[in-house]
């Protein structure tokens, strides 16, 4: 079943949220104990979430294009 636009927007916000919190965690890790290895792990999480976010935005875009195509078809009466 096709997911609604609001559900897709919710899906985009989740990785953004994880990116934001991990960025804060990375900052604090470097400021408090300078643990580079831990910071590198955190950056990997951020990069993975960026890729996930991009995928979700593509899904959202496709869904919006589908909706707008349907609207056009609806307006064209036989």
């Amino acid at each position: 079943m096709k997911r609604s636009t609001s559900a897709l927007i919710h899906d985009v916000r989740n990785p953004l949220n994880t990116i934001s919190i991990n960025a804060e965690l990375g900052k604090l890790t470097l400021m408090k104990n300078g643990d580079i290895n831990k910071a590198l792990q955190i950056f990997d999480v951020i990069l993975a979430e960026c890729r996930l976010c991009s995928k979700k935005i593509t899904e959202l875009k496709e869904s919006l294009q589908d909706d707008s195509a349907k609207d056009v078809l609806k307006d064209v009466k036989p």
């Binding site: 927007i9 989740n14 994880t18 934001s20 919190i21 991990n22 804060e24 979430e49």
Partner: protein, 445 residues
């Protein structure tokens, strides 16, 4: 430190937030479902709960019910993707629930965790935040608080006039808080919109109203319904678009672009500008009729240099915030505080906060004190007051002239030609003066 129950089914967010809060010294218990959270609610006493709304086996509101039965004075924040959920939950659970809007950052978390059971901000410094936003006890601020109180009892539109960095948005938010209205505080910057988009931002649009309008969008008047609309930098709005705003303010109705239905507008409009009123009129930055609609109740925000007594309070407030953010205990030396109090702060409170943040990063870890730069100076200003400069009783005309020449040269990075122009003397006179100073220095040595 807080004892926190954190409930979210997004394990990546749950784990990172748990780790972050533990690094800040809090005790955190994480749960990823309603069932797990309910059993934790019985097993432990929490001061704060952070709850996701949508969970696999129910809602964060189910956890809230269980927590309310077991805990008194618990502070609760719901994690939500959109502020619009606020009014819905507020109707159900009252105004004491806080909200963390995704994407969540440390500032949001710290603001929530600094909240104590009486709903006020319980900062270690004990500094009072008037209306939850404003710091300062000086006479000019007391006058400002009185004006906020007065206008909050009315429906009047307010125009804030103040220098850049003086805290116009904080005052606007204070008016919103004092008004105790149901709707949201919606801030927008009129200088940030392109001419093509400003009408759509203000009034909203219907789907298909113009190329790129892929869905219906509410305007800021709709978003601020029953609340407060804050129009920052109102004087930067193009003059040819101002009649549209005037029409909404006069009719209290708005029509979305591409729409036909008239929507009722019910919100207080607080506008702000950093231009003095005489300049607004002289340079025709606002239409006269719009000015009188917006400035029913004008409020002048005092610049920081007129309330120097508040500088120690503000410094303590910002240092407390930074210490909370970085879980540290950095202080300030008496002589540094004295320097901060003597500076003119042309960039106002914003500049003070920026200066402190920089000094905090550069803090001397051995003494646990911030480290100020040798010269406190804003790149946007050439004004600085130092102990050595200025006119004091007992100084000779020669002393004052020498200080003026030296200060001018310092500000112009030693450019003698520009300095001579600025001082209104010939380059030859400037060289003569400088030579005489060098000679007198050699003599005195």
């Amino acid at each position: 430190m807080a004892n926190i129950l954190l409930v979210d089914d997004d394990t990546k967010f749950l784990n990172a937030t748990t780790e972050l809060l533990r690094m800040l010294g809090h005790t955190v218990h994480g749960a990823s479902s309603v069932g797990e959270a309910k059993s934790m609610a019985v097993a432990s006493r929490y001061t704060h709960a952070i709850l996701d709304l949508i969970l696999p086996d129910g809602s964060g509101l189910h956890v809230l019910d269980a927590l309310n039965a077991e805990h008194h004075n618990l502070q609760v924040a719901l994690v939500t993707g959109h502020a619009s959920i606020k009014s819905f939950v507020m109707n159900l659970y009252g105004p004491n629930i806080k909200y963390l809007i995704k994407p969540i950052d440390l500032e949001q978390l710290n603001a929530f965790l600094a909240t104590s059971s009486d709903g006020s901000s319980s900062r270690e410094s004990g500094i009072k935040k008037h209306f939850g936003h404003l710091v300062g006890e000086s006479p000019v601020m007391q006058k400002l608080y009185e004006m906020i109180e007065r206008v909050s009892q009315t429906q009047a539109n307010v125009m804030l006039v103040g220098e850049s960095g003086a805290g116009k948005e904080e005052v606007a938010a204070s008016i919103h808080v004092a008004s105790q209205v149901r709707g949201n505080f919606v801030p927008i910057n009129c200088g940030a919109f392109s001419t093509e988009l400003i009408n759509s931002e203000l009034f909203g649009h219907e789907k298909g109203a113009f190329t790129g309008a892929i869905s219906r969008k509410p305007g800021v008047f709709e978003l601020a319904q029953d609340g407060t609309l804050f129009l920052d930098e109102i004087t930067e709005m193009p003059i040819d678009l101002q009649p549209n705003l005037l029409r909404v303010l006069e009719s209290r109705k708005v029509i979305r672009l591409g729409g036909t239905a008239q929507l009722d507008v019910n919100c207080r409009v607080v506008s702000a500008t950093n231009r003095p009123e005489h300049e607004i009129a002289r340079d025709k930055k606002l239409r006269e009729d719009l000015y009188f609609r917006l400035a029913v109740f004008p409020i002048h925000i005092p610049p920081l240099r007129t309330r120097r007594d508040d500088i120690p309070l503000l410094v303590e407030h910002f240092l407390t915030d930074l210490n909370l953010q970085y879980n540290a205990k950095i202080g300030i030396r008496e002589e540094d505080l004295e320097r901060l109090c003597q500076y003119d702060w042309p960039g106002n409170v914003r500049e003070l906060r920026h200066c402190l943040h920089r000094a905090y990063i550069m803090a001397d870890q051995a003494t646990g004190k911030i480290r100020l730069p040798e010269r406190i100076q804003s790149p946007f200003s050439r004004v600085e007051t130092t102990q050595s400069n200025g006119i004091h009783f007992g100084k000779t005309v020669e002393d004052v002239e020498r200080e003026l020449i030296q200060t001018t040269l310092e500000h112009l990075d030693g450019d003698k030609k520009k300095a001579a122009e600025m001082l209104g003397i010939s380059l030859k006179t400037l060289y003569n003066r400088l030579n005489s100073y060098t000679a007198s220095n050699s003599y005195s040595e």
